[in-house]
Protein backbone atom coordinates (compact mmCIF):
# COMPACT_ATOMS: atom_id res chain seq x y z
CA UNK A 1 0.00 0.00 0.00
CA UNK A 2 2.71 2.42 1.01
CA UNK A 3 4.74 1.52 -2.06
CA UNK A 4 1.75 2.26 -4.21
CA UNK A 5 1.33 5.72 -2.68
CA UNK A 6 5.01 6.44 -3.15
CA UNK A 7 4.89 5.36 -6.79
CA UNK A 8 1.81 7.48 -7.49
CA UNK A 9 3.34 10.51 -5.82
CA UNK A 10 6.65 10.13 -7.62
CA UNK A 11 4.75 9.74 -10.89
CA UNK A 12 2.75 12.87 -10.23
CA UNK A 13 5.85 14.93 -9.47
CA UNK A 14 7.55 13.61 -12.60
CA UNK A 15 4.55 14.47 -14.75
CA UNK A 16 4.52 17.90 -13.18
CA UNK A 17 8.15 18.53 -14.00
CA UNK A 18 7.64 17.45 -17.60
CA UNK A 19 4.70 19.79 -17.88
CA UNK A 20 7.09 22.46 -16.65
CA UNK A 21 9.45 21.88 -19.54
CA UNK A 22 6.64 22.49 -21.99
CA UNK A 23 5.08 25.61 -20.60
CA UNK A 24 7.81 27.47 -18.84
CA UNK A 25 10.00 28.07 -21.85
CA UNK A 26 9.70 31.74 -22.58
CA UNK A 27 8.93 32.90 -26.07
CA UNK A 28 12.07 35.00 -26.18
CA UNK A 29 13.02 36.02 -29.66
CA UNK A 30 16.32 37.85 -29.70
CA UNK A 31 16.07 38.74 -33.41
CA UNK A 32 13.51 41.46 -32.91
CA UNK A 33 15.02 44.30 -30.92
CA UNK A 34 12.54 45.61 -28.37
CA UNK A 35 12.26 49.09 -26.98
CA UNK A 36 13.06 47.90 -23.49
CA UNK A 37 16.25 45.94 -24.01
CA UNK A 38 14.57 43.01 -22.29
CA UNK A 39 13.25 39.89 -23.96
CA UNK A 40 10.94 37.23 -22.65
CA UNK A 41 7.98 37.05 -20.36
CA UNK A 42 7.14 39.98 -18.09
CA UNK A 43 7.23 39.13 -14.40
CA UNK A 44 4.35 41.17 -13.05
CA UNK A 45 4.70 41.90 -9.33
CA UNK A 46 1.76 43.23 -7.35
CA UNK A 47 0.72 43.79 -3.75
CA UNK A 48 -1.82 41.67 -1.90
CA UNK A 49 -5.55 42.13 -2.38
CA UNK A 50 -6.79 44.72 0.11
CA UNK A 51 -3.53 46.65 0.37
CA UNK A 52 -3.96 50.43 0.24
CA UNK A 53 -1.18 50.75 -2.34
CA UNK A 54 -2.72 48.11 -4.57
CA UNK A 55 -6.18 49.60 -4.21
CA UNK A 56 -4.96 53.04 -5.24
CA UNK A 57 -2.77 51.68 -8.07
CA UNK A 58 -5.50 49.62 -9.72
CA UNK A 59 -8.08 52.36 -9.30
CA UNK A 60 -5.89 55.14 -10.69
CA UNK A 61 -4.72 53.18 -13.72
CA UNK A 62 -8.10 51.59 -14.42
CA UNK A 63 -6.96 48.02 -13.82
CA UNK A 64 -10.56 47.03 -13.18
CA UNK A 65 -13.29 44.95 -14.77
CA UNK A 66 -16.78 46.07 -15.84
CA UNK A 67 -18.02 46.14 -12.25
CA UNK A 68 -15.10 48.33 -11.14
CA UNK A 69 -13.51 45.39 -9.33
CA UNK A 70 -9.77 44.86 -9.19
CA UNK A 71 -8.80 42.87 -12.27
CA UNK A 72 -5.06 42.40 -11.75
CA UNK A 73 -3.93 39.32 -13.66
CA UNK A 74 -4.02 36.16 -11.57
CA UNK A 75 -0.55 35.20 -12.71
CA UNK A 76 0.97 38.28 -11.08
CA UNK A 77 3.43 37.54 -8.31
CA UNK A 78 2.12 38.81 -5.00
CA UNK A 79 4.17 40.22 -2.17
CA UNK A 80 3.00 41.78 1.06
CA UNK A 81 5.94 44.00 1.77
CA UNK A 82 7.69 46.90 0.11
CA UNK A 83 11.16 45.49 0.76
CA UNK A 84 10.40 42.15 -0.91
CA UNK A 85 8.85 44.07 -3.82
CA UNK A 86 12.03 46.09 -4.30
CA UNK A 87 14.41 43.13 -3.97
CA UNK A 88 12.30 41.09 -6.39
CA UNK A 89 12.36 43.79 -9.05
CA UNK A 90 16.05 44.52 -8.38
CA UNK A 91 16.95 40.86 -8.84
CA UNK A 92 14.83 40.02 -11.86
CA UNK A 93 15.52 41.61 -15.27
CA UNK A 94 12.00 40.91 -16.45
CA UNK A 95 10.10 42.30 -13.49
CA UNK A 96 7.79 45.29 -13.14
CA UNK A 97 6.28 46.49 -9.86
CA UNK A 98 5.17 49.54 -7.93
CA UNK A 99 6.05 51.15 -4.60
CA UNK A 100 5.28 54.29 -2.67
CA UNK A 101 7.39 57.27 -3.76
CA UNK A 102 8.64 57.71 -0.20
CA UNK A 103 10.17 54.21 -0.10
CA UNK A 104 11.69 54.23 -3.58
CA UNK A 105 15.35 53.13 -3.59
CA UNK A 106 18.24 53.30 -6.06
CA UNK A 107 18.37 49.56 -6.64
CA UNK A 108 15.41 49.80 -8.99
CA UNK A 109 14.42 52.24 -11.71
CA UNK A 110 11.25 54.31 -11.61
CA UNK A 111 9.82 54.89 -15.08
CA UNK A 112 7.91 57.93 -16.30
CA UNK A 113 4.20 57.38 -16.71
CA UNK A 114 2.85 59.04 -19.88
CA UNK A 115 6.09 61.01 -20.05
CA UNK A 116 5.77 62.44 -16.54
CA UNK A 117 8.49 61.68 -14.04
CA UNK A 118 7.44 60.45 -10.61
CA UNK A 119 8.59 63.18 -8.21
CA UNK A 120 7.05 65.40 -5.58
CA UNK A 121 6.56 68.39 -7.86
CA UNK A 122 4.69 66.46 -10.51
CA UNK A 123 2.47 64.82 -7.92
CA UNK A 124 1.70 68.17 -6.36
CA UNK A 125 0.84 69.78 -9.65
CA UNK A 126 -1.38 66.82 -10.52
CA UNK A 127 0.59 65.98 -13.67
CA UNK A 128 1.72 62.60 -12.34
CA UNK A 129 -1.52 60.71 -12.21
CA UNK A 130 -0.63 57.71 -10.02
CA UNK A 131 -0.96 59.48 -6.67
CA UNK A 132 -3.06 58.82 -3.59
CA UNK A 133 -4.01 60.61 -0.40
CA UNK A 134 -2.78 59.86 3.12
CA UNK A 135 -5.71 60.19 5.49
CA UNK A 136 -6.24 60.31 9.21
CA UNK A 137 -9.58 58.96 10.37
CA UNK A 138 -11.16 59.79 13.72
CA UNK A 139 -14.50 60.27 15.45
CA UNK A 140 -15.22 63.97 15.12
CA UNK A 141 -15.92 65.77 18.36
CA UNK A 142 -14.70 62.90 20.47
CA UNK A 143 -11.01 63.52 20.14
CA UNK A 144 -8.97 64.27 23.23
CA UNK A 145 -7.44 67.70 23.40
CA UNK A 146 -3.98 66.28 22.75
CA UNK A 147 -5.09 64.26 19.73
CA UNK A 148 -6.81 67.31 18.21
CA UNK A 149 -3.68 69.31 18.85
CA UNK A 150 -1.55 66.67 17.07
CA UNK A 151 -3.79 66.94 14.00
CA UNK A 152 -3.54 70.73 14.15
CA UNK A 153 0.23 70.34 14.27
CA UNK A 154 0.30 68.10 11.19
CA UNK A 155 -1.85 70.60 9.26
CA UNK A 156 0.29 73.56 10.34
CA UNK A 157 3.16 74.87 8.25
CA UNK A 158 5.64 73.11 10.57
CA UNK A 159 3.92 69.74 10.17
CA UNK A 160 3.59 70.08 6.42
CA UNK A 161 7.29 70.92 6.22
CA UNK A 162 8.06 67.51 7.74
CA UNK A 163 5.76 65.89 5.17
CA UNK A 164 7.76 67.51 2.39
CA UNK A 165 11.11 66.66 3.95
CA UNK A 166 10.16 62.97 4.14
CA UNK A 167 9.51 62.81 0.41
CA UNK A 168 5.73 63.09 0.48
CA UNK A 169 3.64 65.90 -0.88
CA UNK A 170 2.15 68.50 1.49
CA UNK A 171 -1.43 69.54 0.78
CA UNK A 172 -2.17 72.34 3.25
CA UNK A 173 -0.54 75.69 3.88
CA UNK A 174 -1.54 76.30 7.47
CA UNK A 175 -0.12 78.85 9.84
CA UNK A 176 2.70 78.24 12.28
CA UNK A 177 2.13 75.85 15.17
CA UNK A 178 2.19 77.12 18.74
CA UNK A 179 2.67 74.56 21.47
CA UNK A 180 -0.01 74.56 24.14
CA UNK A 181 2.17 72.31 26.27
CA UNK A 182 -0.54 69.72 26.77
CA UNK A 183 -0.23 66.35 28.37
CA UNK A 184 -1.92 63.07 27.58
CA UNK A 185 -1.61 59.87 25.60
CA UNK A 186 -2.46 59.45 21.91
CA UNK A 187 -2.74 56.10 20.15
CA UNK A 188 -2.48 55.94 16.37
CA UNK A 189 -2.86 52.79 14.25
CA UNK A 190 -3.16 51.83 10.61
CA UNK A 191 -1.46 51.94 7.22
CA UNK A 192 2.12 50.73 7.00
CA UNK A 193 2.67 53.34 4.28
CA UNK A 194 1.64 56.27 6.49
CA UNK A 195 3.37 55.00 9.64
CA UNK A 196 6.98 55.98 8.71
CA UNK A 197 5.81 59.58 8.17
CA UNK A 198 3.75 59.48 11.34
CA UNK A 199 6.75 58.30 13.36
CA UNK A 200 8.80 61.34 12.31
CA UNK A 201 5.91 63.71 12.99
CA UNK A 202 5.33 62.17 16.40
CA UNK A 203 8.99 62.62 17.35
CA UNK A 204 8.92 66.29 16.38
CA UNK A 205 5.61 66.81 18.16
CA UNK A 206 6.96 65.27 21.35
CA UNK A 207 9.86 67.71 21.29
CA UNK A 208 7.33 70.55 21.47
CA UNK A 209 4.99 68.76 23.90
CA UNK A 210 7.23 66.65 26.14
CA UNK A 211 4.31 65.53 28.32
CA UNK A 212 2.37 63.89 25.48
CA UNK A 213 3.12 60.26 24.69
CA UNK A 214 2.22 58.91 21.26
CA UNK A 215 1.92 55.22 20.44
CA UNK A 216 1.96 54.21 16.77
CA UNK A 217 0.89 50.75 15.62
CA UNK A 218 1.34 49.50 12.04
CA UNK A 219 -1.58 47.29 11.13
CA UNK A 220 -2.76 48.20 7.65
CA UNK A 221 -5.29 50.80 6.51
CA UNK A 222 -8.42 48.75 7.02
CA UNK A 223 -7.49 47.54 10.49
CA UNK A 224 -6.52 51.07 11.47
CA UNK A 225 -9.86 52.49 10.36
CA UNK A 226 -11.68 49.65 12.09
CA UNK A 227 -9.83 50.31 15.34
CA UNK A 228 -10.73 54.00 15.12
CA UNK A 229 -14.39 53.10 14.56
CA UNK A 230 -14.33 50.86 17.61
CA UNK A 231 -12.57 53.66 19.50
CA UNK A 232 -9.74 51.27 20.33
CA UNK A 233 -7.37 53.96 19.09
CA UNK A 234 -7.69 57.73 18.84
CA UNK A 235 -6.63 58.12 15.23
CA UNK A 236 -6.58 55.64 12.33
CA UNK A 237 -4.13 56.03 9.44
CA UNK A 238 -5.23 55.18 5.92
CA UNK A 239 -3.37 55.24 2.61
CA UNK A 240 -6.59 55.19 0.61
CA UNK A 241 -9.88 57.07 0.50
CA UNK A 242 -12.36 55.98 3.14
CA UNK A 243 -15.26 53.83 1.97
CA UNK A 244 -18.84 55.10 2.37
CA UNK A 245 -19.60 52.73 5.23
CA UNK A 246 -16.52 54.01 7.03
CA UNK A 247 -17.30 57.71 6.69
CA UNK A 248 -20.62 57.17 8.48
CA UNK A 249 -18.87 57.07 11.83
CA UNK A 250 -15.52 58.66 11.04
CA UNK A 251 -14.17 61.92 9.73
CA UNK A 252 -11.28 61.71 7.32
CA UNK A 253 -8.59 64.37 7.24
CA UNK A 254 -6.16 64.33 4.36
CA UNK A 255 -2.66 65.15 5.59
CA UNK A 256 -0.49 64.49 2.52
CA UNK A 257 -0.28 63.06 -0.98
CA UNK A 258 1.94 60.16 -2.02
CA UNK A 259 2.99 59.16 -5.52
CA UNK A 260 3.13 55.49 -6.52
CA UNK A 261 6.25 54.86 -8.58
CA UNK A 262 6.18 52.19 -11.29
CA UNK A 263 9.50 50.36 -11.02
CA UNK A 264 11.51 48.12 -13.36
CA UNK A 265 14.91 46.44 -13.19
CA UNK A 266 18.00 48.61 -13.66
CA UNK A 267 18.92 46.71 -16.84
CA UNK A 268 15.63 47.69 -18.43
CA UNK A 269 16.40 50.49 -20.91
CA UNK A 270 12.91 51.93 -21.07
CA UNK A 271 12.38 55.29 -19.37
CA UNK A 272 8.79 55.86 -20.19
CA UNK A 273 5.70 53.65 -20.22
CA UNK A 274 2.25 54.86 -21.16
CA UNK A 275 -0.52 54.24 -18.69
CA UNK A 276 -2.23 52.07 -21.33
CA UNK A 277 0.77 49.76 -21.51
CA UNK A 278 1.02 49.51 -17.70
CA UNK A 279 -2.70 48.79 -17.58
CA UNK A 280 -2.35 46.15 -20.28
CA UNK A 281 0.56 44.51 -18.43
CA UNK A 282 -1.35 44.37 -15.15
CA UNK A 283 -4.51 43.12 -16.85
CA UNK A 284 -2.43 40.30 -18.31
CA UNK A 285 -2.97 41.33 -21.95
CA UNK A 286 0.66 42.19 -22.59
CA UNK A 287 2.83 39.34 -21.35
CA UNK A 288 6.22 39.70 -23.05
CA UNK A 289 8.63 42.64 -23.10
CA UNK A 290 9.20 42.18 -26.84
CA UNK A 291 5.71 43.51 -27.52
CA UNK A 292 6.56 46.86 -25.96
CA UNK A 293 8.23 49.27 -28.35
Amino acid sequence: MKKLICTVMAGAMLALSFAGCGSSSSSANSDSPSGTGITGAITVVSREDGSGTRGAFTELLGIVDDQKNDATTETAEITNSTSVMISTVAGNNNAIGYVSLGSLSDTVKAVKVDGVECNANNVKSGEYKVARPFNLAYCDGELSEAAQDLIDYIMSSDGQAIVEKEGYIPIASGSEYKSKNLDGKITVAGSTSVAPLMNVIADEYKKLNPNVSIEIQESGSTTGIQSATEKAVDIGMSSRELKDEETKTLTAKQIAMDGIAVIVNQSNTTDDLTSDIIKSIYLGNTTVWDEIQ
Binding site: L16, S17, N80, V84, N94, S221
Partner: protein
Protein backbone atom coordinates in the same frame (compact mmCIF):
# COMPACT_ATOMS: atom_id res chain seq x y z
CA UNK B 1 1.39 22.12 56.87
CA UNK B 2 3.25 19.93 54.39
CA UNK B 3 -0.08 18.55 53.34
CA UNK B 4 -1.34 22.02 52.54
CA UNK B 5 1.75 22.67 50.47
CA UNK B 6 1.15 19.48 48.55
CA UNK B 7 -2.44 20.40 47.77
CA UNK B 8 -1.39 23.88 46.74
CA UNK B 9 1.27 22.59 44.40
CA UNK B 10 -1.13 20.06 42.94
CA UNK B 11 -3.61 22.83 42.14
CA UNK B 12 -0.80 24.94 40.65
CA UNK B 13 0.26 22.12 38.35
CA UNK B 14 -3.34 21.53 37.36
CA UNK B 15 -3.82 25.22 36.56
CA UNK B 16 -0.73 25.25 34.40
CA UNK B 17 -1.97 22.23 32.49
CA UNK B 18 -5.34 23.91 32.09
CA UNK B 19 -3.79 26.95 30.43
CA UNK B 20 -2.59 25.00 27.42
CA UNK B 21 -5.82 23.05 27.17
CA UNK B 22 -7.73 26.29 27.41
CA UNK B 23 -5.60 27.84 24.69
CA UNK B 24 -6.30 24.98 22.29
CA UNK B 25 -10.00 25.05 23.11
CA UNK B 26 -10.31 28.80 22.64
CA UNK B 27 -8.43 28.71 19.33
CA UNK B 28 -10.68 25.88 18.09
CA UNK B 29 -13.83 27.70 19.11
CA UNK B 30 -12.63 30.97 17.61
CA UNK B 31 -11.66 29.69 14.20
CA UNK B 32 -14.61 27.33 13.83
CA UNK B 33 -17.17 29.86 15.06
CA UNK B 34 -15.81 32.49 12.65
CA UNK B 35 -14.83 30.24 9.78
CA UNK B 36 -17.69 27.77 9.42
CA UNK B 37 -20.43 30.41 8.83
CA UNK B 38 -18.21 31.94 6.13
CA UNK B 39 -17.88 28.54 4.43
CA UNK B 40 -21.68 28.27 4.61
CA UNK B 41 -22.11 31.70 3.06
CA UNK B 42 -19.65 31.08 0.24
CA UNK B 43 -20.83 27.50 -0.28
CA UNK B 44 -18.76 24.49 0.70
CA UNK B 45 -18.09 23.32 -2.86
CA UNK B 46 -17.36 26.85 -4.15
CA UNK B 47 -14.97 27.41 -1.29
CA UNK B 48 -13.02 24.15 -1.30
CA UNK B 49 -13.10 23.42 -5.04
CA UNK B 50 -13.40 26.93 -6.47
CA UNK B 51 -10.35 27.78 -8.55
CA UNK B 52 -10.63 31.58 -8.38
CA UNK B 53 -9.63 33.73 -5.42
CA UNK B 54 -10.73 37.30 -6.07
CA UNK B 55 -11.92 38.77 -2.79
CA UNK B 56 -12.78 42.14 -4.32
CA UNK B 57 -15.13 40.43 -6.79
CA UNK B 58 -16.59 38.13 -4.17
CA UNK B 59 -14.95 34.93 -5.42
CA UNK B 60 -13.42 32.80 -2.69
CA UNK B 61 -12.08 29.53 -4.09
CA UNK B 62 -9.14 28.06 -2.21
CA UNK B 63 -8.55 24.92 -4.29
CA UNK B 64 -5.35 26.34 -5.87
CA UNK B 65 -3.99 26.95 -2.37
CA UNK B 66 -4.86 23.48 -1.11
CA UNK B 67 -3.08 22.04 -4.15
CA UNK B 68 -0.15 24.41 -3.57
CA UNK B 69 0.24 23.38 0.06
CA UNK B 70 0.23 19.70 -0.93
CA UNK B 71 2.72 20.16 -3.81
CA UNK B 72 5.12 22.27 -1.77
CA UNK B 73 5.01 19.85 1.16
CA UNK B 74 5.50 16.85 -1.14
CA UNK B 75 8.45 18.62 -2.73
CA UNK B 76 9.96 19.33 0.66
CA UNK B 77 9.60 15.68 1.68
CA UNK B 78 11.17 14.47 -1.59
CA UNK B 79 14.15 16.77 -1.07
CA UNK B 80 14.50 16.72 2.71
CA UNK B 81 13.73 13.15 3.77
CA UNK B 82 16.38 11.18 1.80
CA UNK B 83 19.07 13.68 2.80
CA UNK B 84 17.86 13.62 6.40
CA UNK B 85 17.75 9.84 6.75
CA UNK B 86 21.15 9.34 5.15
CA UNK B 87 22.61 12.03 7.40
CA UNK B 88 21.08 10.25 10.40
CA UNK B 89 22.68 6.95 9.31
CA UNK B 90 26.01 8.71 9.01
CA UNK B 91 25.70 10.35 12.41
CA UNK B 92 24.63 7.16 14.15
CA UNK B 93 26.98 4.66 12.56
CA UNK B 94 29.85 6.26 10.66
CA UNK B 95 30.60 9.59 12.26
CA UNK B 96 33.87 9.87 14.25
CA UNK B 97 33.25 11.26 17.74
CA UNK B 98 35.24 14.44 17.18
CA UNK B 99 33.32 15.29 14.01
CA UNK B 100 30.04 14.42 15.72
CA UNK B 101 30.65 17.01 18.41
CA UNK B 102 30.96 19.54 15.63
CA UNK B 103 28.10 18.47 13.35
CA UNK B 104 25.41 17.86 15.93
CA UNK B 105 25.29 21.43 17.32
CA UNK B 106 25.26 22.76 13.75
CA UNK B 107 22.18 20.67 12.95
CA UNK B 108 20.48 21.93 16.08
CA UNK B 109 21.43 25.45 15.07
CA UNK B 110 19.68 24.86 11.75
CA UNK B 111 16.50 24.24 13.71
CA UNK B 112 16.74 27.48 15.63
CA UNK B 113 17.36 29.87 12.74
CA UNK B 114 14.25 32.09 12.47
CA UNK B 115 12.18 31.35 9.39
CA UNK B 116 12.31 34.94 8.17
CA UNK B 117 16.08 34.50 7.86
CA UNK B 118 15.55 31.35 5.79
CA UNK B 119 13.13 33.29 3.63
CA UNK B 120 15.47 36.16 2.99
CA UNK B 121 18.40 33.83 2.35
CA UNK B 122 16.30 32.00 -0.21
CA UNK B 123 15.13 35.25 -1.81
CA UNK B 124 18.64 36.56 -2.42
CA UNK B 125 20.53 33.28 -3.00
CA UNK B 126 18.27 30.49 -4.26
CA UNK B 127 15.78 32.54 -6.27
CA UNK B 128 18.41 34.06 -8.65
CA UNK B 129 19.93 30.61 -9.24
CA UNK B 130 16.55 29.08 -10.13
CA UNK B 131 15.87 32.15 -12.25
CA UNK B 132 19.03 31.52 -14.27
CA UNK B 133 18.45 27.79 -14.60
CA UNK B 134 14.77 27.82 -15.57
CA UNK B 135 14.34 31.27 -17.16
CA UNK B 136 11.32 31.98 -15.03
CA UNK B 137 10.86 34.44 -12.19
CA UNK B 138 12.54 31.97 -9.84
CA UNK B 139 9.75 31.98 -7.31
CA UNK B 140 7.55 28.93 -7.20
CA UNK B 141 7.01 25.33 -6.14
CA UNK B 142 10.61 24.29 -6.76
CA UNK B 143 12.14 27.12 -4.73
CA UNK B 144 9.66 26.66 -1.90
CA UNK B 145 10.33 22.90 -1.87
CA UNK B 146 14.07 23.43 -1.62
CA UNK B 147 13.61 25.92 1.21
CA UNK B 148 11.23 23.69 3.16
CA UNK B 149 13.40 20.68 2.40
CA UNK B 150 16.24 22.43 4.24
CA UNK B 151 13.97 23.62 7.04
CA UNK B 152 12.69 20.13 7.87
CA UNK B 153 16.18 18.59 7.91
CA UNK B 154 16.77 18.98 11.68
CA UNK B 155 13.46 17.29 12.53
CA UNK B 156 14.09 14.38 10.19
CA UNK B 157 17.74 13.97 11.21
CA UNK B 158 17.16 14.12 14.96
CA UNK B 159 14.20 11.72 15.09
CA UNK B 160 15.77 9.31 12.61
CA UNK B 161 19.09 9.32 14.44
CA UNK B 162 17.41 8.60 17.76
CA UNK B 163 15.40 5.71 16.35
CA UNK B 164 18.39 4.24 14.50
CA UNK B 165 20.38 4.34 17.74
CA UNK B 166 17.49 2.60 19.50
CA UNK B 167 17.73 -0.43 17.22
CA UNK B 168 19.51 -3.22 19.17
CA UNK B 169 23.07 -3.81 17.98
CA UNK B 170 22.39 -7.48 17.45
CA UNK B 171 20.36 -6.66 14.30
CA UNK B 172 23.39 -5.04 12.76
CA UNK B 173 25.84 -7.64 14.04
CA UNK B 174 23.58 -10.47 12.91
CA UNK B 175 23.44 -9.07 9.39
CA UNK B 176 27.20 -8.67 9.35
CA UNK B 177 27.64 -12.25 10.59
CA UNK B 178 25.49 -13.48 7.71
CA UNK B 179 27.99 -11.95 5.34
CA UNK B 180 26.29 -8.68 4.42
CA UNK B 181 28.44 -5.61 3.87
CA UNK B 182 28.27 -2.72 6.33
CA UNK B 183 26.12 -0.59 4.00
CA UNK B 184 23.78 -3.45 3.25
CA UNK B 185 23.27 -4.35 6.89
CA UNK B 186 22.51 -0.74 7.71
CA UNK B 187 20.11 -0.03 4.88
CA UNK B 188 18.40 -3.42 4.82
CA UNK B 189 18.17 -4.27 8.51
CA UNK B 190 18.83 -1.31 10.80
CA UNK B 191 16.91 1.39 8.90
CA UNK B 192 13.83 -0.82 8.31
CA UNK B 193 13.85 -1.74 12.00
CA UNK B 194 13.82 1.98 12.84
CA UNK B 195 11.12 2.82 10.35
CA UNK B 196 8.31 3.69 12.74
CA UNK B 197 10.49 6.29 14.43
CA UNK B 198 11.60 7.61 11.08
CA UNK B 199 7.99 7.77 9.91
CA UNK B 200 6.96 9.80 12.91
CA UNK B 201 9.81 12.21 12.15
CA UNK B 202 8.53 12.52 8.59
CA UNK B 203 5.00 13.22 9.79
CA UNK B 204 6.25 15.89 12.19
CA UNK B 205 8.16 17.50 9.35
CA UNK B 206 5.06 17.40 7.12
CA UNK B 207 3.35 19.38 9.88
CA UNK B 208 6.17 21.88 9.88
CA UNK B 209 6.18 22.20 6.08
CA UNK B 210 2.40 22.68 5.83
CA UNK B 211 2.43 25.28 8.58
CA UNK B 212 5.47 27.27 7.54
CA UNK B 213 4.48 30.81 6.57
CA UNK B 214 6.97 33.63 6.89
CA UNK B 215 9.66 32.09 4.72
CA UNK B 216 7.32 30.66 2.10
CA UNK B 217 5.45 33.91 1.56
CA UNK B 218 8.71 35.54 0.45
CA UNK B 219 9.69 33.03 -2.20
CA UNK B 220 6.63 31.18 -3.51
CA UNK B 221 5.34 33.93 -5.81
CA UNK B 222 1.92 33.85 -4.16
CA UNK B 223 -0.21 33.67 -7.29
CA UNK B 224 -3.58 32.20 -6.39
CA UNK B 225 -3.82 30.11 -9.56
CA UNK B 226 -3.53 26.42 -10.30
CA UNK B 227 0.16 25.66 -10.88
CA UNK B 228 0.90 24.26 -14.32
CA UNK B 229 4.56 23.46 -13.84
CA UNK B 230 7.11 22.85 -11.12
CA UNK B 231 8.43 26.38 -11.47
CA UNK B 232 5.11 28.22 -11.46
CA UNK B 233 4.31 30.46 -8.53
CA UNK B 234 1.88 29.23 -5.92
CA UNK B 235 0.14 30.54 -2.83
CA UNK B 236 -0.10 28.17 0.10
CA UNK B 237 -2.95 28.20 2.63
CA UNK B 238 -0.78 29.86 5.26
CA UNK B 239 0.53 32.54 2.88
CA UNK B 240 -3.01 33.41 1.90
CA UNK B 241 -3.97 34.09 5.50
CA UNK B 242 -0.89 36.07 6.47
CA UNK B 243 -0.84 38.20 3.34
CA UNK B 244 -4.38 39.44 3.35
CA UNK B 245 -5.40 39.41 6.99
CA UNK B 246 -4.11 42.90 7.76
CA UNK B 247 -6.35 44.56 5.23
CA UNK B 248 -9.34 42.27 5.07
CA UNK B 249 -12.84 43.21 6.18
CA UNK B 250 -16.27 41.57 6.17
CA UNK B 251 -16.65 38.31 4.26
CA UNK B 252 -13.06 38.53 3.03
CA UNK B 253 -11.85 38.35 6.61
CA UNK B 254 -14.16 35.48 7.43
CA UNK B 255 -13.01 33.65 4.31
CA UNK B 256 -9.43 33.94 5.55
CA UNK B 257 -10.45 32.48 8.90
CA UNK B 258 -12.23 29.73 6.97
CA UNK B 259 -8.91 29.09 5.21
CA UNK B 260 -7.48 28.60 8.69
CA UNK B 261 -10.22 26.03 9.37
CA UNK B 262 -9.08 24.02 6.35
CA UNK B 263 -5.47 24.33 7.49
CA UNK B 264 -6.50 23.25 10.96
CA UNK B 265 -8.20 20.14 9.58
CA UNK B 266 -5.02 19.39 7.62
CA UNK B 267 -2.88 19.62 10.73
CA UNK B 268 -5.42 17.59 12.70
CA UNK B 269 -5.21 14.76 10.16
CA UNK B 270 -1.42 14.85 10.31
CA UNK B 271 -1.43 14.74 14.11
CA UNK B 272 -3.91 11.85 14.17
CA UNK B 273 -1.64 9.93 11.79
CA UNK B 274 1.23 10.68 14.13
CA UNK B 275 -0.52 9.43 17.25
CA UNK B 276 -1.76 6.29 15.49
CA UNK B 277 1.81 5.57 14.49
CA UNK B 278 3.14 6.17 17.98
CA UNK B 279 0.47 3.92 19.48
CA UNK B 280 1.31 1.20 16.99
CA UNK B 281 4.94 1.51 17.99
CA UNK B 282 4.07 1.17 21.67
CA UNK B 283 2.12 -2.03 21.01
CA UNK B 284 5.09 -3.70 19.34
Amino acid sequence: MSNLKEVFMKILFLLCACISILAVAVICIFIFANGVPAIGEIGFMDFIFGTHWKPSSGEFGIFPMIVASIYVTAGAIIIGVPIGILTAVFLAKYCPKKLYKFIKPLINLLASIPSVVYGFFCLVVVVPVIQQLTHTSGKGILTASILLGIMILPTVINTSEASIRAVPDMYYEGALALGATKERSLLKTVVPAAKSGIMSGIILSIGRAVGETTAVVMIAGNQAVMPNSITSGVRTLTSNIVMEMAYATGLHRSALIATAVVLFVFILIINICFSILVRKKEKQ
